[in-house]
């Protein structure tokens, strides 16, 4: 089902060519504030970010790339708009990819300089088109915005190919989920370059996660997309966690605990919401893919708890703790969270870490 794309190496991470879907994010610090940026990248890496992009809106930020690169472990991508000179300055450093946008760097003579320098230094380029900054010449394109986004990105890619440059990753993003889906479906049929997916300016934490989950969910289910970035007006650590949850829902990657929690109807015997929330928080640092059930009553409770790696099912006074399908013990309401957390951590310690397959 997966659309075949060519692999492109970003540092030691492969995008495309059947590699696992890569999770990336973007820093929100001023890039020239090296220490703050590096600290944020470290937090993002711990959360499961595999490639990091930083904005390069000025020369100070371009210069900072060198110091940031020295201090971080994951591949570094420079994001440049408007000023070709900044793209060239960014390419002076040992970065792992550069992202440029056909809508904001339009002068093809300058683009040629950037491409030739990237080629010389063997640095891949993402051509990233966004609905909000589409080159005006595509605005009137027939068949609407999705086709316009695709035409813009593919014409730029053709220009790169004519310069014998093929280390290309492509993205077309719209703040409209349906436009993003349609544009990427067209792209997947027309190009072999790996696709970077995202719903741009998706919104705040919950709303943006919903739009991203619907859009990327539909595309990834169809086998479209090689790397994803969830764009949220929120701490970028949330972007990374949401990205992993999307991949996990689709069975494409598994990282960290998944809480199966019932929605507490009038049948619930325990006050389940705080239990589920607390368990999720206390286990948020784990990377082992555990399935943990927190169930309020007897309708689906024991069934779900039995199928989970570990779980509790609520009863009249407390609940039952299940582990790998067996009842381990009866818990009082007070024991519920600490016992479940303790047993889950023990299970996690004994299980393998997330693999990249």
């Amino acid at each position: 089902m997966k659309y075949f794309t060519r692999p492109v190496k970003i540092g030691d991470i492969v995008i495309g060519g059947g590699a696992p879907i890569v999770v990336q994010s973007m820093t929100t610090t001023k890039t020239f504030e090296v220490e703050a940026t590096v600290n944020q990248v470290d937090r993002l890496e711990k959360a499961g970010c595999e490639i990091i992009r930083v904005a390069v809106p000025d020369l100070e930020s371009a210069k900072a790339l060198e110091y940031i690169k020295e201090e971080i472990k994951i591949p570094l991508v420079a994001d440049v708009h408007f000023r070709p000179s900044l793209a060239l300055a960014a390419l002076d450093h040992d970065i792992d990819k550069i992202r440029i946008n056909p809508g904001t760097i339009r002068d093809l003579k300058k683009v040629k300089e950037i491409v030739l320098k990237a080629k010389e230094k063997n640095i891949p380029i993402r051509i990233g088109v966004n609905s909000g900054s589409l080159h005006p010449k595509y605005k009137g394109v027939e068949n609407g915005l999705p086709q316009a986004l695709v035409s813009s990105v593919l014409e730029y890619a053709q220009f790169f190919e004519d310069l014998d440059f093929t280390q290309i990753v492509i993205s077309v993003k719209s703040s409209s989920v349906m436009e993003t889906i349609e544009a990427n479906q067209i792209l997947a049929e027309k190009t072999k370059y790996p696709l970077h997916l995202g719903i741009t300016e998706a919104g705040t934490l919950l709303s943006g996660s919903i739009k991203s989950s619907v859009g990327m969910g539909v595309l990834l289910f169809q086998g479209i997309g090689d790397t994803i970035r969830v764009s949220l007006a929120a701490d970028p650590v949330e972007e990374v966690e949401v990205a992993h949850k999307i991949l996990s829902a689709l069975g494409l990657r598994n990282r960290g605990p998944e809480i199966i929690a019932c929605p507490t109807c009038g049948r619930s015997e325990i006050n389940l919401i705080p239990v589920a929330v607390e368990v999720e928080q206390k286990l948020s640092g784990l990377t082992a893919p555990l399935k943990i059930a927190v169930m309020g009553c007897e309708v689906n409770g024991p069934g779900e708890a039995r199928e989970a790696d570990i779980g509790v099912a609520g009863g009249k006074n407390g609940g039952l703790l299940f582990k790998k399908g067996k009842i381990i013990k009866k818990l009082s309401p007070k024991q519920m969270v600490p016992s479940l957390v303790e047993e889950a951590k023990r299970l996690a310690a004994g299980s393998k870490k997330e693999g990249r397959d």
Copy 2:
């Protein structure tokens, strides 16, 4: 693209037959606490809930149905497990649908009584199968759980048909997104009864919303599903809001404001996250489908803000307020939220309320 299903009338709401996707939820109060239940239903209705289900785990709750029904405006569904007598008791009242589960009410002689009574009273039945309470006889079914869920629900439906009862809605839910998708894809090919979608026990607010968005997103995009219920371990009002956001992302329904907010990279000129969050909160009561942009900088900012009904794009000292593509005024940082909220409310007042089409 939409799979054709037969329409089934639940009170004055139609599920299936090409009707708009219906949003439903379930109360978390003790059903026999009538006042608390009615208050929650009122809150849910205001949030956009169109059908409400209540748990009926005891006779007191069955009796309460009569009083609840008198006090609420949206159709009322009784959810019954384990005790056929409670289903019969629920059907004594003027409810709009009853939900039973083949895994928890297995005695077909009793099921026949329920079906005949529902038929006599012209009350539709949802046959709702969940992975956690699947009838044991289907556990060994070939081709795994999705096929087992489908076999269970369709055999039950056949039994209803043999009693000449066809006012049927069907659901098959798993806490696994992929299993839920697969089961519903099989179902859509095999039945003409309308489908109620949900990922069961999806989890806490954010995690559960992501799983629901991916699962329902994929299915609805394929034209599968006539009504949805998001199951969260959270206030059910959140379930309704998330459901509407999923439908809105897919362009199937539109309710309330959509905030297009950029993810604030190192390029942002304003402290955008709190602005976006505050604007979203202050406008959360609106039902008019407005597109509102809150953008941090010049890369996509003015472009997105111009395409939105209303928006701000950040600049060095404050930002610009756009309305229907035109700059209305320059805003100081302090004016940003109040001006945007005020103008959005004015726009909303002038626009039509959400239509059901």
